[in-house]
């Protein structure tokens, strides 16, 4: 029944919402693909990213385009449907022949398009924080790897809140499961005992949190400072935070640090009961920096909405787009192979006042910021790493991946090189 419905939805949406292209520069343009869901469950997060890309492309065109040609955005709607992501990616690469694609949000959508981009030798910029354990020649990961988000957040709680007891709560899918596996291994390496870690998974869109929040409260009565590390995704966050407020768990007692809650998600919640709960990102709208302020101004003007917020994946797209533009200018062509090679080492200003560089493992350097939720739905930044952190694609805390590295530069050119066996493709699992 469900498969039937799914196929039907794919068919209906593929037929119903066809691609929209902008501008009529059929001849002399460089096409840029935008692969974000504009309908379905993920539209809530991904629509914004499409808008950011359109803004960046418009701006680049005002500056005279790229290599003397105008950029043309090709927007497709994969409708939150993972197989449809692969179809749309194929369409972008074969039919529209885009020079680069910016897109995907969930890990499963990325996994779904990965073989397509590798087969057709495309370029994908992936802007969302993810679980790591991957490095593809054709994908550039501008979001955070676990060591750029999860681990610094846990470190912050250990040092500043003296937390010794941990609840790892997540939605039941690949990102929370892998992240929690890494965190569990990391916490144990720091001397946290197994009985001081509680792991809890919930289905997508879970809305009745009474039992789980009561469990968390009970777990917190062991006389040790307790914190919740939340990889709860999307819509399930709102009822979760509401229930925390209802059961009077304040951030002063049991702080919750979240990896998927940003300014955009908080826009739909009354944030007063949440003041003090934390989020770890590489960017916050409240970053006090002139480039950021200018960007926010531009964004509000572009969307004609003075209340629009900015968030971390948006910054990732800004960085990714700048990097791609710079690499294309450097090589003087949009040829994928050449651009992929020249992207490594490209360094562009990020919105937090520093520079982000594309590393040989196709991940970028970023600062890690910890913010506390304020009553107005913004974050007050309480901690920032002194320098930039390099994204670590293969976690050092997992058995199967600690010996692996990725380096896409010429002699090695490998996404999972095993330093123990000295062979490429040596996934140690």
């Amino acid at each position: 029944m469900t498969t039937f419905l799914k196929t039907l939805s794919a068919a209906a949406l593929a037929g119903g919402i066809a691609l929209t292209s902008f501008g009529a520069y059929a001849q002399n343009t460089i096409k840029v693909g935008i692969l974000h869901s504009l309908s379905g469950t993920m539209a809530i997060s991904e629509t914004t990213l499409k808008d950011v890309m359109l803004m960046l492309i418009e701006e680049q065109n005002k500056k005279g385009g790229l290599l003397g040609k105008k950029l043309e955005a090709v927007v497709v709607d994969p409708a939150s449907n993972w197989p449809l992501f692969a179809e749309k990616a194929r369409e972008l690469l074969t039919k529209d022949k885009v020079a680069a694609t910016f897109g995907c949000w969930t890990s499963v959508s990325r996994k779904s398009v990965l073989p397509v981009f590798e087969e057709l030798n495309g370029i994908l910029f992936y802007p969302v924080q993810y679980e790591g354990e991957e490095s593809s020649k054709n994908i550039f990961y501008t979001g955070a790897a676990p060591n750029q988000q999860a681990i610094p957040a846990v470190d912050y709680l250990m040092e500043n809140e003296k937390v010794t007891r941990w609840v790892l709560a997540g939605t039941d899918y690949v990102y929370p499961r892998t992240t929690n596996k890494i965190l569990e291994a990391y916490l144990k390496s720091k001397g946290v005992k197994a009985e001081d870690i509680m792991i809890n998974y919930t289905p997508f869109g879970h809305s009745d949190w009474q039992t789980i929040v009561a469990d968390i409260k009970k777990f917190g009565t062991a006389g040790k400072k307790t914190a919740v590390v939340s990889t709860i995704n999307g819509d399930a966050n709102v009822p979760f935070y509401k229930e925390l407020g209802n059961q009077k768990i304040s951030a002063k007692d049991i702080p919750v640090v979240a990896f998927s809650v940003g300014e955009e998600e908080l826009a739909g919640i009354d944030t007063k009961p949440l003041v003090g709960h934390l989020a770890a990102w590489n960017y916050f709208q409240s970053v006090d920096d002139p480039t950021n302020k200018a960007f926010i101004e531009k964004w509000k003007a572009y969307t004609k909405n003075p209340k629009r917020v900015t968030n971390d994946p948006m910054e990732a797209h800004v960085i990714g787009f700048e990097m791609w533009v710079k690499a294309v200018e450097k090589t003087g062509t949009v040829d994928t192979t050449a651009v992929i090679d020249s992207l490594i080492g490209v360094s562009v200003p990020n919105l937090t006042g520093g520079y982000s560089t594309m590393m040989p493992n196709h991940h970028i350097t970023k600062p890690v910021l910890i913010g506390e939720i304020k009553a107005d739905g913004q974050f007050s930044i309480v901690s920032q790493t002194a320098g930039l952190v390099v994204g670590d694609e293969w976690s050092d805390y997992l058995e199967g991946s600690k010996d692996l590295i990725a380096d896409w530069r010429a002699p090695m050119s490998c996404g999972n090189f095993n330093v123990k066996t000295g062979k490429c493709g040596g996934a140690g699992k």
């Binding site: 539209a43 809140e161 809890n200 869109g205 009474q210 009565t221 062991a222 955009e264 919640i269 009553a375």
Partner: protein
């Protein structure tokens, strides 16, 4: 000459006498000045030190400044001078407490994080123990209880002597006991006595404290604390059943609300209505619109917003249902597969329409005062929102029951569903009864949306998350039977909540589904099967 010398001497004497309190006051003021300077720092350690210093300085300027800080109304200027604003927005110099006619430019709020907030709570708590406002004294007792700050004990003693309200006095005694028990330097006898005071309170906070103290307590105290902790844990175990039953009832009432409209459209009319969830969503968005209008135009009515939204949601969703029935469904009676596909298409159209009008983001629907907050009932946290939803779902059920059983429309409706041709022969306009029945079911789904907007996201996807559950409830309860829907919703809710602690949320849900599949194998018509000829029709 003599007289003048005498005067000088006298003056000197007075000066000497006066200077003793004067220097003390000066010291205080200096302490407070130094503390204020710390507050303007960027370093959380210094800010925390500043709060502690300010609280113990005893300066009269400390309390208003710290209270303002707890509210986020304390600022510092680029010159590191500290100011606070009152709730009306007037600016005061924190050092002198005097109003400032013009606020200096470039004011930044004093930085806070969770650690600072805890220090602040403790400081404000110990400063407001003697406040004339009983609510403030109560809050102060709670924050001292949580901070377990040994330096607050003298202030607590003083407050205990003055307190006349027995409930607050008890809280003070508990706060004092917590501070004593947590303080390893306190005399052992007093700490043991403190255990008794706390054991009487016996909640999770006390359990946490007992577990903290247990680790490095002297032998006699340890025995006592462990016994106390064990007693609390025993009671919590007993309460677990009550708690699960309550949570289950609450989940069941949500299921009931979501399913009850479907019990009409699917249960009574036999239409597989995949757009049922979207009717719920339309109800939730109606609530949002009503609240927006109230927020902008009639803020005083906010507490009534849900009541105002109820009839509007019923009418809006009902109207959409009526249009849907007249334009699509009536052409498809007796063709369940086509109805399923068509209504499912309609659900996608409605979702995308709402997404285009209101945007893809969640919309915030506020809770009126009587629905926010919670109370503790026998150690189980009872949230008012959930409680009202239980009451509301039962009211909706009762109202629907009355409509079906005691009104002429209900009679016609039952007549049409039982024997359409006979009903038509008796002069009932069956197409209109069909349309109105479908509108009624949709309208009730809309009402459910008003309630669900309180506990779930108001987003275009709201309905999707309820559609499967709704069908599950109706099928399990027995198609065409309202009592079955009630019983099925509540029992599924309770079963789910009793499974969750053992199996986890994911597996718990799967187990319930497996159970229903097996159950339907045995009794294909559900719990309360309709009997007689109506079944065959």
């Amino acid at each position: 000459m003599r007289a003048s010398r005498f005067v000088v001497l006298f003056a000197a004497l007075i000066g000497l006498l006066a200077s003793v309190p004067a220097t003390r006051a000066q010291d205080r003021a200096q302490d407070a000045d130094a503390a204020f300077a710390e507050l303007a720092s960027d370093n959380f350690n210094r800010i925390e030190a500043g709060i502690t210093a300010l609280a113990s300085s005893g300066a009269p300027t400390a309390a208003p400044a710290l209270e303002a800080m707890a509210d986020g109304r304390l600022f510092f200027s680029p010159a590191r001078q500290v100011f606070w604003k009152d709730k009306a927005g007037a600016t005061f110099d924190a050092k002198t407490g005097a109003a400032v006619s013009e606020a200096p430019g470039g004011l930044r709020p004093v930085r806070v994080n969770n650690r600072i907030r805890r220090a602040l709570d403790a400081a404000v708590g110990s400063l407001t123990l003697m406040s004339p406002d009983p609510a403030k004294r109560r809050a102060a007792a709670e924050s001292v209880f949580k901070s377990r700050d040994a330096t607050a004990i003298p202030a607590l003693d003083a407050a205990l002597g003055k307190e006349s309200d027995p409930a607050i006095k008890k809280l003070f005694a508990q706060a004092r006991a917590a501070a004593l028990l947590a303080n390893a330097d306190a005399p052992e006898g007093e700490r043991i006595a403190a255990v008794d005071v706390l054991a009487e309170r016996g909640d999770q906070d006390v359990l946490g404290l007992f577990n903290t103290v247990k680790g490095n307590a002297p032998a006699s105290l340890k025995v006592k604390v462990e016994a106390g902790a064990a007693a609390i844990e025993r009671r919590m175990k007993l309460l677990e059943g009550v708690q699960n039953a309550w949570y289950g009832l609450s989940l069941g009432s949500v299921l009931l609300l979501a399913a009850i409209g479907l019990a009409i459209t699917f249960g009574v009319m036999g239409i597989i209505n995949m757009a049922h969830g979207e009717m719920v969503m339309i109800g939730a968005y109606t609530t949002f619109v009503v609240q927006e209008v109230i927020r902008t135009s009639f803020p005083a009515l906010f507490d009534w917003s849900l009541l105002i939204a109820l009839p509007l949601a019923f009418l809006t969703a009902g109207a959409v249902g009526l249009v849907l029935e007249r334009t699509v469904i009536r052409h498809l009676y007796g063709r369940p597969l086509e109805t399923l596909l068509a209504t499912w298409g309609v659900s996608l159209i409605l979702q995308q329409a709402v997404r285009s009008i209101f945007g893809a983001n969640n919309r915030e629907v506020g809770a009126p005062a009587f629905m926010s907050g919670s109370t503790e009932f026998m150690g189980v946290a009872v949230t008012y929102g959930r409680m009202w939803i239980i009451v509301f779902s039962l009211l909706v059920f009762a109202a629907l029951f009355v409509v079906l059983r005691a009104t002429s429309f209900g009679l016609k409706m039952r007549a049409v569903t039982q024997n359409r041709r006979m009903a038509a022969a008796m002069g009932i306009r069956t197409p209109w009864v069909d349309a109105l029945t479908f509108a009624l079911g949709s309208g009730i789904a809309g009402i459910a949306g008003v309630a669900l907007s309180q506990i779930d996201n108001v987003s275009p996807n709201l309905g999707q998350s309820y559609i499967i559950d709704s069908f599950m409830v109706v099928v399990f309860g027995g198609v065409g039977n309202l009592w079955g829907t009630l019983f099925a919703a509540l029992s599924l809710g309770v079963a789910n909540k009793f499974l969750e602690p053992f199996a986890g949320a994911v597996l718990g849900k799967i187990l319930v589904l497996v159970f229903i599949i097996l159950f339907i194998q045995k009794r294909p018509r559900g719990l309360f099967a309709l009997k007689g000829r109506a079944v065959e029709a």
